[in-house]
Amino acid sequence: MEKGNLAKWVKNEGDPVKAGDVIAEIETDKATMEVEAVDEGTLGKILVPEGTQDVAVNTPIAIIFAEGEKAGDVAAAKPAAKPAPKQEAPAPAETPAAPVSVSAPAAAPAASDPEVPAGTEMVTMTVREALRDAMAEEMRRDPSVFVMGEEVAEYQGAYKVTQGLLQEFGAKRVIDTPITEHGFAGVGVGAAFAGLKPVVEFMTFNFSMQAIDQIVNSAGKTLYMSGGQVTAQIVFRGPNGPAARVAAQHSQDYSAWYSHIPGLKVIAPYTAADAKGLLKAAIRDPNPVIFLENEILYGKSFPVPKLEDWVLPIGKARIARAGKDVTLVAWSIGMNYALGAAEELAKEGIEAEVIDLRTLRPMDIETVVESAKKTNRCITIEEGWPQNGVGADIAAQIMERAFDWLDAPVTRVSGKDVPMPYAANLEKLALPSVPEVVEAAKAVLYR
């Protein structure tokens, strides 16, 4: 969370306030929060009027006069409550997103995607809206599609991804479950065996470890074990990977875990257009699909083609930025680092080719290998751990398929090999960064 809207002033200028009194309401993309006065005094001056949109975190919104102070002392008075404060002790899901340390330019507009017909109108929407629209469209199209998970209905989604679905489709098709991941994952798979098409939301993929047996053994293997008779057309979706400041148990990237399993498909989109087109494809796919979203990307806006039925093929990477000097391979939020680094490298005359894998299984390794043959250098970028990571597999495959084309070893930039620390500085160190990608790129270019 970086900004919010000042929805309402509860106190007026001149009102006496005590510490703890609610003085205003702030609306963010995730929740409505009350701002409390931190000092006793009089609400002297409102600096941000009601209805103001996009107030940045830490902007002073009012001044509270202590006893004896008056309007003329405004310049000396201390700013009072701040808008969009950090959320207090939220449910594990409601992680306050610290400002993203990486400021990456948006990906090349999706209009360059070969699947978009020329002249298609583009609309700007967040990844969150794109995901919601994808589910709503598929639910309108097919009555056997339903959504279940913790807080998906009445709460409108712990991250508001399922916002409005209950209102449109009713409680029969938008189902709040108890906190029972192993159980509802299995119930979803059983319903899929019987021919329904569940979209099961994990509040975050961290909690899917409770359910991993049902995902791997029941969903992933039954088609094979039944000799092709029984399918599980099911999507497991939710935010994956580190959010911000939620420490070790809530900051894990499952890209490598699930993409290890034959029988599963694994998708990890970056843009809103890909999120929409691939989630619709996932819901229609007859196989179990793990759909890895990212909390920090939920609020990020991208152009999305305005098409009646925007569905993308699963298993196809996208060249997000063309280049000839070095290949950067990423997916999901890893694209922030890759595109940010490409921008930096461009300033030094290095043309990086950035590949957004989009799907991790089946992986479009051909596109990666072709690019590596062209640039003769490859960097993989992921927030997950290095050992047995997705980058390790890509490196192995490039070695097997393009060894003779390589001018330098394939290099991995990844999350550090430690549990995620809480402290802001350590957390930043534990994650990959644009400078690390830039450094790796220069190293393989011997510059």
Binding site: K172, P178, G183, V187, A191, A192, L196
Partner: protein, 345 residues
């Protein structure tokens, strides 16, 4: 509120299959009793043959025989309607035969042949027949319980009036996901009947050594799920309890638990050391409580079938099983290309 679970203390080793007199048991027609005899005998002979083929090296890996427990699945199958679903764990051959799956193709799956129900890729523990509404065959203890609950969820979603029979053992009754399922099934009033096949041993661990609450019919009480203990060695008792439970679930009243007090004669699997129970205990069940022998005796004594008629059924079953074994021994193995098929669709 549904009826509460009946209190029966299994710690005192309640007699199973002890014939308490015909009057104490709900009656079956002569035709039903003959059918039950045939179905149970088919499972018994099939399992004996599977044991032989295992010994000959034709069946590999894990092979869990159902011998002793036949009345449970046969009685329950007589209590459901066409279209109702069945799901169970890995001691599943009996459930498949009772669901009407072809013994030839079940046996061919056991021997890992291409005409097996799973093309030889599933084996003893993983077989399915959507046509016969049999949803497996699951190898992870307890995992089939949420799955069966999910099938019941689909029934309710579609309002198709179907009930899912979800079987699990006394061992699985200690798995957490069973209780996660109980909670959702009762919360959403799903049409599922949970059948706990309590054969007294989870592998080699007796329920006395592993269960704090040994009356497993009470395991749904904290969720408000009614349950009862049933003499699982008496097919009449199973059928009667099954009809009641299935009707309850079909009427939209939610799940029902039936604890079937039963016994397996053979080891947990084919590699059982048989050190955890006495031979006398096993013999006592075989001699005094055998589910098939009790029906056979009744058929003859009550003159519901002649000795010839019974022999005819026995011969018919013997032939079916021999044919299945013959077929399964000579079918070709799956083509090597099958390694790569059915991973995804």
């Amino acid at each position: 509120m549904p009826a509460t679970a009946k209190s029966l203390d299994t710690t005192k080793d309640r007699p199973r299959g002890k014939d308490q007199g015909a009057a104490a048991r709900p009656p079956m027609s002569a035709e039903q009793e003959k059918l039950a005899f045939r179905e149970m005998l088919l499972i018994r002979r099939f399992e004996e043959k599977a044991g032989q083929l295992y010994g000959m090296g034709l069946i590999g890996g894990f092979c869990h025989l159902y011998i002793g427990q036949e009345a449970v699945v046969v009685g329950m199958q007589m209590a459901i309607e066409e279209g109702d679903q069945v799901i169970t764990a890995y001691r599943d051959h009996g459930h498949m035969l009772a669901s009407g799956m072809d013994p030839k193709y079940v046996m061919a799956e056991l021997t890992g042949r291409r005409s097996g129900y799973s093309k030889g890729k599933g084996g003893s523990m993983h077989m399915f027949s959507i046509e016969k509404n049999f949803y497996g065959g699951h190898g992870i203890v307890g995992a089939q319980v949420p799955l069966g609950t999910g099938i019941a969820f689909a029934n309710r979603y579609r309002e198709n009036n179907r009930v899912c029979l979800t079987y699990f053992g006394d061992g699985a009754a200690n798995q957490g996901q069973v209780y996660e399922s109980f909670n959702m099934a009762e919360l959403w009033k799903l049409p599922v009947v949970y059948i706990i096949e309590n054969n007294k041993y989870a592998m080699g661990t007796s329920i006395e050594r592993s269960h704090a609450q040994r009356d497993l019919s009470k395991r749904g009480m904290s969720f408000g799920i009614p349950g009862e203990q049933v003499d699982g060695m008496d097919v009449r008792a199973v059928k009667a309890a099954g009809e009641k439970a299935v009707a309850f679930a079909r009427e939209g009243k939610g799940p029902y638990i039936l604890e079937m007090l039963t016994y397996r004669y053979r080891g947990h699997s084919m590699s059982d050391p048989a050190k955890y129970r006495t031979k006398d205990e096993v013999d006592k069940y075989r001699k005094e409580h055998d589910p098939i022998e009790m029906v056979r005796t009744r058929l003859i004594e009550e003159k519901r079938a002649s000795e010839d008629e019974v022999k005819k059924i026995e011969n018919e079953v013997k032939n079916i099983v021999n044919e299945a074994a013959e077929f399964a021994s000579h079918e070709p193995e799956p083509d090597a290309s099958e390694l790569w098929t059915d991973v995804t669709r």
